[in-house]
């Protein structure tokens, strides 16, 4: 019997030995000794545009309106391991060449280059780096040839069904045509940096080269980590896009790039954002007076033309219109003749000239709700705008009056409307 017991004990001992000892049971959560934590590449989980409160997601921006971007960053080593966050809010003039998911190949000189498991890439999310862990020693980043096919679960829907190829020896970086310098028409840059554990942020969006105006972009507030031991932080920045941030449907993007102490980085992009059209008209002339005029006067009669100082500011194609209406007197009504002929008793006509173009001012009734189209060639302006003032030259801006030969004596009041519209 004793032998039987010994044999059974031996058998169970053998049985236990055959079990996978590594994960035999739910395991502990503590260890003693000193440890070196593996360096982890930070991850930009998401970058998104919101309204100023950070509550409502936005897919478009209106100039001179406050918005907030949120950048959700994870560093498994802790947020304190990060060194900087760079946000680029930019207009992309051409077709975007999506960089696709980022690829980081790590290895050492002795272990050689590791191969990206392409078969697995279909399950990665854009913005998350494909990470190959180091087998020891200092991690290094390598460029390589890799083709990644995005799967249908990607949140960046515009990236669907695309195949991304990273050229040999080309760094996995930003869009090839992403602006590299800020200017108020195309690109704003926001940078967070950490010094002695304290984060601070600055922004840059100067007027474009040659623009005598001042930027109308603003960087109002931001958040930064105060607990550097956390693994995740949502950076936010409240900003106002300027007047001449180029208008475009689905032409703007926000790129977030986070970098850590080992100079590893991660990038993520928003889907395409629309910048709404912005048009401004600034009239420094607020009243007009012709002085000594007589019935029957023509557009060429002194004191015509009268100067009207007007500035147009637009972030895209725009058109200039001028309209008026009948002028009212104490006793009589002066009727606007939009043909320029001032034909008919007590009829008057107006001729507007802006730049190289002229037109007879009409009422806003009729097929065109803005009156007479003077010019429809306006394009994106500087912050300083397109300025028209004076009676000669390319900056000419005048208004001339013509009266019918029979014109009732009275004091007339009326309005001349200068309009700017998106085209």
């Amino acid at each position: 019997m004793k032998k039987l017991i010994i044999s059974i004990v031996v058998a169970f001992t053998l049985m236990l030995g055959l079990l996978p000892t590594g994960i035999l049971a739910a395991t502990s959560g503590s260890s003693s000794g000193s440890f070196s934590i593996q360096h982890e590449i930070p991850t930009v989980n998401s970058v998104a545009l919101y309204d100023s409160t950070g509550v409502t997601p936005e897919t478009s921006m209106t100039p001179l309106t406050q918005y907030q971007f949120k950048v959700d960053v994870t560093d498994l080593n802790s947020i304190g391991n990060l060194t900087s966050l760079n946000i680029v809010l930019f207009y992309l003039s051409g077709t975007p060449s999506w960089p696709g998911p980022q690829i980081f190949l790590t290895g050492t000189a002795t272990s050689g280059l590791l191969v990206v498991p392409v078969a697995n890439t279909s399950s990665f999310t854009v913005g998350h780096p494909v990470r190959i862990a180091d087998t020891g020693g200092t991690q290094s980043e390598y460029n390589t040839i890799a083709s990644i096919t995005a799967n249908t679960s990607l949140t960046m829907t515009t990236a669907l069904a695309h195949t991304y190829t990273v050229a040999n020896n080309a760094a996995v970086t930003d869009f090839g045509n992403m602006p590299t310098t800020p200017d108020s028409q195309n690109c704003a840059m926001f940078s967070w940096t950490k010094s002695s554990g304290v984060w601070s942020a600055v922004a840059s969006y100067p007027p474009a080269a040659g623009d005598s105006g001042t930027t109308t972009w603003s960087f109002l507030s931001y958040t930064a980590p105060t607990d550097n031991t956390a693994s995740e932080f949502v950076f936010t920045g409240n900003f106002i896009p300027g007047k001449v941030a180029t208008a475009g449907v689905g032409k703007w993007y926000i790129r977030a790039r986070v970098t850590d102490t080992q100079n590893y980085d991660s990038r993520a992009y928003t889907p395409a954002i629309t910048m709404n059209p912005y048009d401004e008209i600034d009239l420094n002339t607020t009243t007009l007076a012709w002085g000594s005029v007589v019935p029957g006067m023509g557009f060429g009669t002194t004191p015509n033309p009268k100067s009207v100082t007007v500035t147009y500011i637009a972030n895209g194609p725009y058109a200039k219109y001028v309209s008026s209406n009948n002028w009212t007197g104490y006793t009589y009504t002066a009727t606007l003749d939009g043909t320029g002929g001032a034909s008919g008793t007590n009829h008057f006509s107006l001729q507007a000239a802006i730049g190289a173009t002229t037109g007879y001012v009409s009422t806003v009734t009729g097929p065109n709700p803005y009156g007479t189209l003077i010019d429809d060639t306006g394009v994106l302006t500087y912050e300083a705008g397109d300025n028209f003032s004076g009676t000669t030259g390319s900056y000419l801006s005048t208004m001339s009056l013509a009266l019918n030969a029979v014109f009732n004596t009275d004091t007339y009041s009326g309005t001349i409307i200068y309009a700017i519209t998106t085209r």
Partner: protein, 397 residues
């Protein structure tokens, strides 16, 4: 022409001249009317409305904004122009803007049942004006034009925001018509449900809670369709999840894996949220165990971590880590799956895969292959049986 008529004509001209000169005298240029700096923006111009007869379109994404960038307060009058049978509604018709102020004006469109199908232009404009001023004033105006197509065909759709267990949730629900890759807002609701009559075509819809997108669905509506679309998504989820190898400084070998994760609750506090860690070794899942129980699980983010060490130490092979979240005792959501290969006491590779991939791992482990436990047990039974046979044979001799 007799002398009498000539005299009358000259007199009229002279009087007119005199009055116009007088008019010049009373026009005081110094009266700045602040018409400069009127600006106009918004999404209206970018809209390409396609609306069936008898339907309407509105939403917070359809608007214009009027700015007063001048130095004086100005009065603004909004105007609009639409074809017969089409009504443009503006949230504000007339208002005053202080210097530096802006006013957003929401725009809605309604197409009458008898509106004539076709393509039209719609105009919305803002004009500054001044009251009680005589003389010839110069005023500013700005506007945008949008395209409208009225159609005779329509479809109906109902959107409803749901939790993963099918319960209605209060959420912002947006319906967009997809046109040339762009989303054109069609309808909007903050109650979690939305009903709309729209033109047939491609649509996308999304629900949001606290600014976070919870669910998204794209679909196609055909003529006379009456479709219900469920926007089902998790309002509690793992915002981040990863495992970080930690090596012993004594021997350089893997000591423990730090499991780092963030639980985010968007919607409402729940009584109990339990996070479990599920580990699979070489494809064989082990019994999940609890990392933390949050009672209650409040709205917001909770960043947590846990150091994992296998009882018997690290063994070469592949490990899969995945978190599960039970809400009030029921499985609610899972994290991505972290896969790592351990070789020679070090982590060779770490990969992240989606929950879909993780579920396939679970399926494989549940129905395919042989469990190491089972394999070890079978061998043990064989060994024990062999010993017993050997013992009975010796006893019978």
């Amino acid at each position: 022409m007799n002398w009498h008529f000539r005299l009358k004509s000259v007199a009229v001209r002279f009087v007119t001249l005199s009055l116009l000169l007088w008019l010049v005298g009373i026009l005081v240029p110094a009266a700045v009317l602040a018409q400069g700096g009127l600006a106009f923006s918004g999404s209206f111009h970018n809209q390409d409305f396609v609306i069936p007869q008898g339907a309407s379109v509105n939403g917070p994404g359809i608007y214009v904004v009027v700015f007063n960038n001048g130095s004086e307060t100005i009065n603004i009058r909004m105007t609009s122009q639409a074809p017969p049978g089409v009504t443009i509604s503006l949230s504000d018709q007339q208002f005053t803007l202080a210097p530096g102020a802006q006013q957003q004006v929401l725009i809605g469109l309604a197409v009458a049942v008898d509106a004539v199908p076709g393509d039209y232009d719609l105009n919305v404009a803002a004009q500054s004006y001044t009251e009680g001023v005589s003389g010839i004033q110069i005023a500013g105006a700005a506007g945008q034009t949008a395209k409208l197509t009225v159609t005779g065909e329509s479809a109906k759709v109902t959107l409803q925001a749901l939790s993963p267990d099918g319960q209605p949730v209060v959420a912002a629900v947006h319906l967009y018509r997809v046109e040339n890759g762009q989303n054109m807002e069609v309808a909007y609701s903050q109650t979690g449900t939305l009903q709309a009559t729209v033109v047939p075509g491609s649509y996308t819809s999304a629900s949001y809670i606290g600014g976070q997108q919870v669910a998204e669905q794209s679909f196609i509506l055909a003529v006379n369709d009456n479709k219900t679309v469920d926007l089902s998504g998790a309002t509690v989820y793992f915002a981040s999840f990863g495992v970080v190898p930690n090596y012993s400084k004594d021997n350089g070998e893997l000591a423990f894996m730090q499991v780092v994760y963030t639980v985010k609750n968007l919607y409402q506090q729940v009584d109990t949220g339990e996070v479990l860690l599920q580990i699979s070794f070489n494809g064989t899942p082990q019994a999940p165990f609890t990392l933390v129980t949050l009672s209650p699980l409040a709205v917001g983010s909770s960043g947590l971590n846990y150091n994992y060490i296998p009882t018997g130490g690290w063994v070469d092979g592949s490990y899969d880590f995945q978190l599960q979240l039970n809400v009030d005792g029921k499985l609610y959501t899972s994290s991505t799956l972290q896969h790592l290969d351990v070789s020679g006491g070090k982590v060779a590779t770490v990969e992240t895969t989606s929950p879909t991939a993780s579920s396939s791992v679970s399926a494989a482990s549940g129905g395919k292959g042989m469990s190491p436990y089972l394999f070890g047990g079978i061998i043990a039974v064989v060994v024990v049986a062999g010993i017993l046979v050997f013992w009975f044979r010796r006893r019978n001799k």
